[in-house]
């Protein structure tokens, strides 16, 4: 090959609009050689250059003759090449990566990038490939392949992936490449180069050496724990179970725990021991909250609504990880938060919602949530149909005559807008037990009086009373009993 004569002409395109061509000069004398590049029989003017590459707009599908004339003190030469789209390679351009961030608490990587679709003339199918490598021996953690379409405009894409190893435990290397499957292009189509990415943001590595730190996970999870320290880790144990060590990095060793069982309330300890030290973390394995069962809302006094429920399956999580309950009322927009009363840990769960003046229908949603998830139960009530009065108190008897008495009792509650339906139990050794029902106009926290007649003179009676609302929901408890000897008949 004569000195400086161009050969091996190669053309690539990143966007099908511009061809970027370059050639080899067998004996490269960069200094002093000038080239003239002409596209024979074309309207394009010739290009003068001292470099061994040139750019031209993409040519039509036909064959084109390219004439490269080289001029050098030691002599000139003309070389001709036949160039068509078939000889051009489509190599996607380097991606513009917007962001690769890591959420260390969930060991999740978030990748966001721009596909630069505006640089591409028309819609094309694109294949993306993302590889994550980790550990010292650059083991493949995952390979993700998926398709999108270039839409002629820039589109932002998202991808996220959760590592099975805490991100703090070992370096994670992420790289991405893509392939434009352009159907209208007859040249060679190639993958872009791999674009290595650096995770922005670093873990909050205080003196802490064991990861993950105090994580809450669902029962049945498979987990990797690791210890990152300068010393040699000799043993590791999960609760009381000894575990085999898995080398991760030069300073990091891990253990793998499968199908984690529910933790005690203070969590399960994960402990790594070196010759002179001990490092640990705790994991809390539990359940998301069950849908609250038997959600019931009623009122004792038409002032406060008491909603109670059964939490269902225990979550195994307590303290700051305990289930949080909030009762929302849709019509009023108000809500009440449940605070676990430290003293009465096992009592039924209940919340008190202040009734709203003039509102009888309530649409309650009880939302339960803990670090593992949430659930909810809904109940729609007309509260006047959910009255469970308090126990009538201060039952008192006054004689009217030998066959009639006044019965008086006290009932707290704002019943002015409803009628009460009460039942009087009348007991005597002589006539046995008799029940009489009466309807009384409800009052505002007051005493109620009724007369009871057709009694037997000079007889010892025992009275007691209970009430419900006229739209029956529940009886109150019976009041205390009251004995009374009717007057002698005249």
């Amino acid at each position: 090959q004569k000195r400086g004569v161009p050969h091996d002409l190669k053309c690539i395109t990143h966007n099908l609009k511009i061809w970027d061509c370059s050639w080899e000069a067998s004996y490269r004398i960069n200094h002093g050689t000038t080239y003239e590049v002409c596209i024979v029989n074309s309207s394009y003017s010739c290009i003068q250059t001292e470099k061994t590459h040139f750019e031209i707009p993409a040519l039509s599908l036909a064959d084109h003759e390219i004439k490269i004339s080289s001029t050098h003190v030691s002599g000139n030469s003309v070389t001709k090449f036949i160039l068509s789209e078939r000889n051009v390679s489509l190599v996607p351009a380097t991606l513009q990566i917007l962001n690769l961030t890591a959420d260390f608490s969930t060991s999740t990587l978030y990748l966001k990038w721009n596909d630069n679709g505006s640089a591409f003339p028309h819609h094309s199918n694109v294949i993306w490939e993302i590889i994550v490598l980790y550990k010292e021996d650059m083991e493949v953690a995952t390979v993700a392949t998926f398709n999108t379409t270039l839409m002629g405009k820039d589109s932002v894409h998202h991808w996220n992936w959760t590592s099975d190893i805490p991100l703090e435990c070992t370096a994670h290397h992420v790289k991405i490449r893509y392939y434009i499957d352009e159907l209208h292009f007859f040249g060679q189509k190639e993958w872009s180069e791999w674009i290595p990415l650096r995770i922005s943001g670093s873990p909050i590595k205080e003196s802490y050496e064991v990861f993950p730190r105090d994580k809450v996970v669902p029962v049945g999870s498979n987990m990797m724990f690791c210890c990152v320290v300068e010393e040699t880790v000799l043993t590791a144990q999960y609760g009381s179970e000894k575990c085999s060590l898995i080398p991760l990095d030069n300073k990091s060793v891990g253990i793998k725990i499968n199908n984690i069982t529910i933790s005690p309330s203070s969590g399960t300890n994960v402990v790594f021991t070196t010759r002179s030290n001990l490092y640990g973390t705790v994991v809390f394995a539990g359940y998301p909250p069950d849908i609250p069962k038997k959600l019931n809302c009623e009122t004792r006094d038409l002032k406060e609504i008491i909603c109670s429920w059964n939490p269902g399956r225990p979550t195994g999580l307590v303290g700051p990880r305990d289930t949080n309950y909030i009762l929302y009322e849709r019509f009023s927009g108000r809500n009440v938060t449940y605070k676990r009363d430290e003293e009465h840990m096992n009592e039924n769960h209940q919340l008190i919602f202040q009734m709203i003046s003039g509102q009888e229908r309530y649409n309650f949603t009880l939302k339960a949530s803990n670090p593992l998830g949430g659930s909810e139960a809904v109940i729609l009530v007309d509260i006047t149909q959910r009255v469970y009065p308090h126990t009538p108190s201060k039952l008192n008897v006054k004689g009217i005559n030998s066959t009639a008495i006044f019965l008086e009792w006290h009932l707290s509650g704002n019943f002015a807008n409803i009628n009460l339906f009460c039942e009087i139990e009348i007991n005597s050794a002589y006539s046995g037990q008799e029940l009489r029902n009466i309807t009384v106009k409800g009052l505002e926290t007051s005493s109620y009086h009724v007369s009871v007649d057709k009694l037997i003179p000079y007889t010892m009676y025992t009275f007691r009373v209970r009430c419900s609302s006229e739209k029956f929901w529940k009886w109150s408890k019976w009041s205390n009993e009251k004995q009374y000897l009717t007057m002698e008949g005249i």
Binding site: E206, S207, Y208, V210, R213, D214, Q237, G239, S240, S263, P264, S265, S266, G267, T268, N269, V270, V271, S276, N277, L278, G280, T281, V282, V318, G319, P320, D322, R340, E342, M345
Partner: protein, 196 residues
């Protein structure tokens, strides 16, 4: 005269004829309290480990002594110090422990909210440690000894992980046991020296 004899406390010289019986009773009473709390401290540590999950409580579990700033175990040289100086150190440690035990109690309330007996024992231990510290200070005052160094406020690591919290509690309960037992020993020594 051996260095030990030079350190002995002559109670008679420190109190008038009339107040000596009162001082003697105070020392005996404080000693009994220390003796009682020594057994309570043992029960506290046992109860504590039961609520932290394995490997706490396992025979093989022997973590390195976690540094608790402001408080260490009684020094090996403690028993060689003059009795009153030992009691001053005991009082300071007990007052520090009162704050530490209170902190551990609050941390455990999050971890073990249902462990009411453990929480009550931690709370009691905090009060009892303070009470014993004060009682030792009263004895020291009666003996004319200057009060010990003010107890440094114990500083806990910032946002310690749960495991560190457990280890810390384990260490504090251990320190409590050590210092209460040490106080009981020093009071016994005082009684041997002073009351003959």
């Amino acid at each position: 005269m051996s260095q030990r004899e030079g350190n002995e406390v002559d109670l008679q010289s420190h109190s008038s004829a009339s107040s000596f019986p009162h001082l003697e009773a105070k020392i005996r009473q404080t000693h009994s309290l220390a003796k009682l709390l020594t057994s309570y401290a043992e029960q506290l540590l046992q109860e504590y480990v039961q609520h932290q999950g394995d490997p706490f409580g396992l025979p093989s579990f022997s973590p390195p002594e976690l540094p608790v700033s402001g408080l260490n175990s009684p020094a090996p040289t403690h028993s060689g110090l003059p009795t009153l100086e030992r009691l001053q150190l005991d009082a300071a440690a007990l007052n520090s422990l009162s704050l530490l035990l209170d902190t551990i109690c609050r941390l455990q309330a999050d971890l073990n909210p249902f462990a009411s007996r453990l929480l009550r024992r931690l709370e009691d231990a905090s009060h009892q440690s303070r009470a014993l510290g004060n009682a030792v200070e009263v004895v020291l005052e009666a003996l004319g000894a200057a009060p010990g160094p003010p107890e440094p406020h114990p500083i806990l690591p910032e946002s310690p992980g749960v495991f560190l919290i457990k280890l810390l509690g384990y260490r504090v309960c251990g320190l409590y046991q050590e210092w209460v037992s040490c106080t009981e020993g020093d009071l016994s020594q005082l009684m041997r020296e002073g009351l003959g």
